[in-house]
């Protein structure tokens, strides 16, 4: 059962533009908070089938035997017309906790717990910075669940197991964050399924109508 609607050229362009603007804002606020220049990739938006997600992840991160840390966080509508819910998935590779701690002005001892806390904190910030911007443009606000650690030192094929995915096709917005002069690499993916995609497209249509 697909249930995933077609995305028209206009809708895609508009969504791309909205995400671009949100990214710009995200970069700015991150720079302001972390006092460091954040390099953001141009966001990629596409529909993806559940069976393709692990190969996609591997392609994104590179190397079958790369070990990564992964965090997930759910988001959902809290007010406004953008009636979506979905999950953000953040994959950290080549990330130095030492650099991360410095970045977050974390001055306590770097225990395992502290490392996990840092990962969750950074995830929450990267994730929120961008999603808030998207929602704001569509005159909505999102709520978030606490981020949770999928695992550290994971092989890329262990991040998501296909059997656990209850959807067939999802909309994926993919962004890569890099930090200047720091060992830090984060792939951020927002994933939404059928009903939320429809809601997103409706919101975009209204947005377009208002222009």
């Amino acid at each position: 059962m697909s249930g995933v609607p077609e995305i028209t050229e206009d809708q895609r362009d508009c969504l791309q533009e909205i995400v671009n603007v949100a990214m710009g804002q995200a970069g700015e606020s991150l720079a302001c908070l972390l006092e460091v220049f954040v390099q953001l990739s141009v966001p990629r938006i596409r529909l993806i089938e559940s069976k393709d997600i692990t190969p996609e992840l591997q392609k994104m991160i590179g190397g079958d035997d790369a070990k990564v840390s992964a965090v997930r966080q759910a988001f959902y509508r809290s007010s406004g017309r953008l009636d979506i819910q979905g999950e953000a998935l953040l994959v950290f590779s080549d990330t130095s906790f030492h650099d991360l701690a410095e970045l977050m002005a974390y001055e306590e001892e770097l225990t395992l717990n502290a490392e996990q806390e840092l990962l969750l904190d950074v995830s929450n910030i990267l994730n929120g910075a961008c999603l808030t911007g998207i929602a704001e443009q569509l005159e909505s606000e999102l709520g978030y669940s606490p981020p949770s650690l999928i695992g550290s030192n994971l092989a890329t094929d262990k991040i998501l197991s296909e059997e656990q995915l209850s959807w067939a096709e999802a909309l994926m917005i993919e962004i890569t964050y890099r930090l200047e002069n720091r060992s830090f690499n984060c792939n951020l993916m927002f994933l939404m399924t059928g009903k939320s995609i429809r809601a997103l497209l409706t919101a975009i249509d209204e947005f377009l109508d208002e222009l």
Partner: protein, 974 residues
């Protein structure tokens, strides 16, 4: 409208009574909200902390860390979180499992949420604190169980690698030495059945041990020589058991044993001072000792080490048992097989034919409930599951055919099964072939039911928490989802089944619907119903892939047999239990934030005409309304607390009377000031318990509060049955403080005197004494009262009590105030003069005439004109038209840096200046400001042009300055 009010009430109630902490801070880290949970746990009341700096009130908080979190919320307008798993707690609160918890303080999850103001900027951060102690305790229990199993596993793993008994025992000793770092060495004595003597089976020196301490002659040969030692059974048993102090079953401690008779050979090295020993027994037969010793310090081992040894003994004994069994398999020893029957685990083995061999431990009989010799292992272990049997068979066959490369295959073997309702873990140990024995697979079965149960219990607990929290935060969504589901179960399903579509389409549609519900419910953490729906969904999915088509009736029956609505029951009852019967029962409420209402209001003002606004605005504002009673509700608790402090007693205060809905903003300042009235009643009005009894009054004082609503006013009566005000003392006091001379004072009637308690002189703190009767801060009440246009009257009778009657104007319909155009225009002109004089330092030469309206078709404009349109109560356009020189002069003073070319900034600066002038003028009209909207100012180079064809009233006035003139005009919309 009443929904919104009761929604607000419900929210307030929930926030205050929820077993979750809620507090908020502003940018300066001052506390804005502090709910009941925080009050109870911190033992600081909201009154105490609100308005104070969070870190000053709670200096123990991790300031840097928390500030960083909060800052991120302000900057990113985003949520932030913290979990107890990484950071156990923010506030060191005690928790509600002080007895059984084993945890020192409450574990806390935090959620930080932005609170946005009208402009979309984050004005405050709301912090939610969840008590995660229960989850933490359960996880702790789990971890401990797992750890115990792992330690054992570690030993078992090393043991399984070792085929030599000596190596095995060495490993065990190594582990022991790690556990007891103060031990210099560890030794294992085992009984040799042939001569009934104990022989050293393994000996380990710890790293800190220096052989030279023994004296040179033995130092080099100690390890070797010790292995040649042997002791008579009775001697050694006597030494390690009877002569030692037995602390727990099988565990002994021996201190300072120089005087004990030892075998000859050991005397030379018997300088040990302290030994900890454990008996190794199998089937209650003593077969050896493990001994850890320290040579120097007879107090080296403390009694607390005994507990460690008891644990270690359990693990190592079972390890040694297993090892012995492994050894025995190779040797085909019957005896030792029996030893294993005690190990509490099932051991069995099979060769390439996969049939269970003759020797297996007694536990296996228990597990399988039958004789298992000769039966194929896969059939035993997965009795009812043919596919699993086939799978297991094929992998095992692979292992036996390619024994060298079996790592991979081993990892594929199923690790767990269900036997007779028990969860059994399965471990596989391949045993390589030797000359005499074929390759074997040894299997160890362990009952892990309890572990699983614990895991499930914990999972349940987590789900419960998740569900309840989710329900509280997303009540409407949950209620809606459940209602939709109910509708589907009651009607929707039948409609699909009875539609004219073909059977495949019907099945697909049902599948699609239940799948959607599943997704929705799982997002809302309603786990039980999700599980049920998932099972049903799998059935449907199987149906769809089934080759033979299904009849409609058969499918209808299938759906009829599925009690879909009942699946909701477990989740519903959890929610009802945790949050009350009514939680989901209520009609859906529309929750609208105050900010949204304010935004709506603004939008209405700018788009609707004043007359339309007159109709709709009051309706909208009612959304923000609260019952007047709610503004007073905290005083009941407040005076009870005061009573306690003052050793007085009062009947709990009841607030009676009409339920009047008011805009809280309008009355909040006043109701807050009433604290002085209540304080006075408790301080001076109500007598102490003893005094009251003496006076023949009930020992509990009575304070009552009654609200009335009549003819556009609210009346509030606050009475007590206490002392009353001593009017004569008041009279004396006015003389004492020099307010009046005695003849003036004597002329005052009671009413006039009582009036004085609201004046600064009488009510101010430093002049209060017991004679004044009442006194502190009542002037503040009066002040607030005057602000909202109210009045007060006091009735008092000495010894009987006092009543305060407050009367507050209240227009339910909210009539829009009328605007006097002339006043507004005059205010703008005054403001312009003051702006030019004070801000731009320009001399105004005339005091401009008060504006008068005149009818004209045209209006002359100067060099540069700024227009500002206003809407709302007053509609029209203001025109500020400046001479060139004056405009440039203003620009010069307004620009901070010197600028060469004022004209470049002319339009911008003048627009800004006029905006300030008009904005400031509007501020002179409280009550109107928020009803008048100013558009963006627009400046134009008008170069003495004329505005024509207007045909309206024009209000205009000219200000002359040293730099030139400015004309200010107002053109009302027709």
């Amino acid at each position: 409208m009443s929904n919104a009010t009761s929604s607000a009430k419900l929210k307030e109630f929930i926030v205050d009574h929820l077993n979750i902490g809620v507090f908020s801070v502003d940018k300066q880290m001052n506390l804005l909200l502090w709910n009941g949970f925080m009050e109870n746990n911190s033992h600081r009341s909201a009154d105490e902390v609100i308005g104070k700096n969070l870190f000053e009130m709670f200096p123990e908080l991790p300031k840097k860390w928390l500030q960083r979190k909060i800052k991120s919320v302000f900057i990113l307008k985003n949520f932030a979180f913290s979990s107890w798993e990484q950071r156990p707690f923010l506030f060191k609160f005690s928790h509600n499992r002080p007895i059984t918890g084993g945890i020192d303080s409450m574990r806390q999850d935090l959620m930080l949420m932005p609170v946005k103001g009208d402009t979309g900027e984050v004005e405050a951060v709301n912090i939610v604190l969840l008590d995660m102690t229960d989850v933490c305790i359960f996880q702790g229990m789990m971890a401990e169980t797992m750890e115990q199993m792992e330690t054992l596993d570690d030993i078992v793993k090393t043991i399984n690698r070792e085929t030599q008994l000596e190596n095995l025992l060495t490993t065990v000793l190594d582990q022991g030495l790690m556990l007891f770092p103060q031990a210099d060495n560890g030794i294992c004595w085992l009984l040799d059945a042939h001569d009934n003597r104990f022989k050293c089976a393994a000996f380990v020196n710890s790293a800190i041990f220096s052989a030279s301490e023994f004296g040179a002659s033995h130092a080099l040969t100690l390890d070797d020589s010790i292995k040649t030692l042997s002791f008579d059974y009775d001697d050694l048993v006597a030494r390690y058991t009877q002569n030692s102090e037995c602390l727990e079953e099988g565990v002994y401690i021996l201190r300072h044993f120089d005087s004990i008779a030892l075998g000859e050979q050991l005397k030379n090295i018997a300088t040990q001072k302290c030994s900890l020993s454990m008996a190794v027994t199998i089937e209650e037969q003593l077969i050896g000792f493990l001994v850890f010793s320290n040579f120097a310090d007879k107090e080296a081992f403390a009694n607390s080490d005994v507990q460690k040894l008891v644990r270690f003994r359990e693990h190592s004994m079972s390890a040694i048992s297993k090892a012995k069994y492994l050894k025995a398999i190779a040797e085909e020893g019957d005896k030792i097989k029996n030893l294993l029957d005690n190990a509490g685990q099932g051991f069995l083995s099979f060769t390439a034919d996969l049939k269970v061999e003759g020797e297996y431990s007694a536990e296996c009989r228990e597990l399988f409930d039958s004789q298992i010799e000769g039966r194929p292992f896969p059939e035993l272990i997965f009795a009812d599951d043919t596919p699993q049997q086939q799978f297991l068979t094929s992998i095992l066959q692979d292992i036996f055919t390619a024994p060298d490369n079996n790592e991979l295959f081993l990892s594929l073997l199923p690790q767990e099964t269900l036997l007779g309702g028990k969860n059994i873990s399965i471990e596989y140990r391949p045993i390589a072939a030797t000359e005499s024995v074929d390759t074997k697979m040894m299997v160890i079965l362990t009952d892990i039911t309890e572990t699983r149960m614990l895991e499930n219990q914990m999972e349940e607990e987590r789900n419960w928490l998740r569900m309840v929290v989710s329900a509280v935060t997303r009540r409407n969504e949950i209620a809606r989802a459940i209602r939709e589901y109910q509708l589907f179960c009651q009607q929707g399903l039948d409609q699909i089944l009875n539609s004219n579509a073909n059977i495949d389409a019907i099945i697909f549609e049902v599948f699609r619907m239940v799948h959607t519900f599943k997704g929705g419910f799982s997002q809302l953490d309603l786990v039980h119903v999700v599980k049920e729906i998932h099972t049903f969904e799998s059935q449907l999915s199987d149906l769809r892939s089934r080759p033979e088509p299904m009849g409609l009736d058969e499918f209808k029956q299938l759906c009829a047999d599925a009690p879909m609505w009942c699946w909701m029951e477990p989740d519903l009852s959890i929610l009802k239990e945790a949050l009350g019967e009514d939680f989901l029962g209520q009609e859906e409420m529309l929750t609208v934030g105050v900010t949204t209402v304010n935004a709506l209001e603004e939008q209405m003002l700018s788009t609707l005409s004043p007359i339309e606004n007159q109709v709709f605005l009051p309706k909208l504002r009612r959304l923000k309304a609260k019952p007047f009673k709610a503004l007073l509700k905290d005083y009941g608790d407040y005076i009870e607390r005061l009573a306690e402090e003052l050793d007085k007693a009062i009947v709990p205060m009841e607030i009676t009377g009409d339920d009047v809905l008011v805009n809280p903003d309008e009355f909040l300042d006043f109701t807050k000031s009433l604290v002085h009235v209540f304080r006075n009643i408790m301080d001076h009005g109500i007598e102490t318990i003893e005094d009251r009894m003496e006076l023949g009054k009930d020992e509990c004082g009575l304070v009552s509060c009654d609200i009335g609503h009549e003819d556009n006013q609210i009346t509030l009566r606050i009475s007590d049955d206490g002392n009353g005000i001593d009017v004569e003392s008041l009279r004396q006091k006015t003389i004492d403080i020099g307010l009046y001379d005695s003849s003036q004072a004597n002329d005052l009637n009671d009413e006039q005197l009582i009036e004085l308690i609201f004046t600064e002189q009488i009510s101010s703190k430093d002049s209060v004494n017991e004679l004044s009767g009442r006194g502190i801060g009542l002037s503040a009440v009066k002040q607030e009262l005057t602000k909202c246009g109210g009045t007060v009257r006091v009735d008092t009778e000495l010894g009987v009590g006092t009543s305060f009657y407050f009367c507050l104007p209240f227009n339910e319909t909210i009539e829009l105030p009328a605007v006097d155009v002339e006043l507004v225009v005059s205010a703008v002109i005054d403001q312009a003069v003051s702006f030019l004089t004070n801000e731009a330092a320009i001399n105004c030469q005339n005091s401009p005439s008060s504006p008068t309206p005149y009818q004209s078709e045209n209006l002359s404009l100067n060099y540069l004109t700024t227009m500002i349109r206003i809407k709302g109560l007053l509609e029209g356009v203001f025109l500020f038209s400046f001479d060139e020189n004056l405009a440039k002069a203003v620009v010069r003073t307004m620009m901070l840096d010197d600028c060469d070319d004022e004209s470049a900034y002319l339009t911008e600066v003048m627009a800004e200046s006029c905006n300030i002038i008009l904005g400031n003028s509007m501020n002179n009209f409280p009550g109107i400001t928020e009803l008048v909207m100013m558009d963006v100012p627009m400046s134009l180079n008008t170069r003495t042009s004329i505005l024509e064809n207007m045909c309206v009233e024009i209000w205009t006035s000219l200000i002359k300055t040293s730099e030139g003139n400015v004309s200010i005009s107002f053109l009302p919309s027709s």
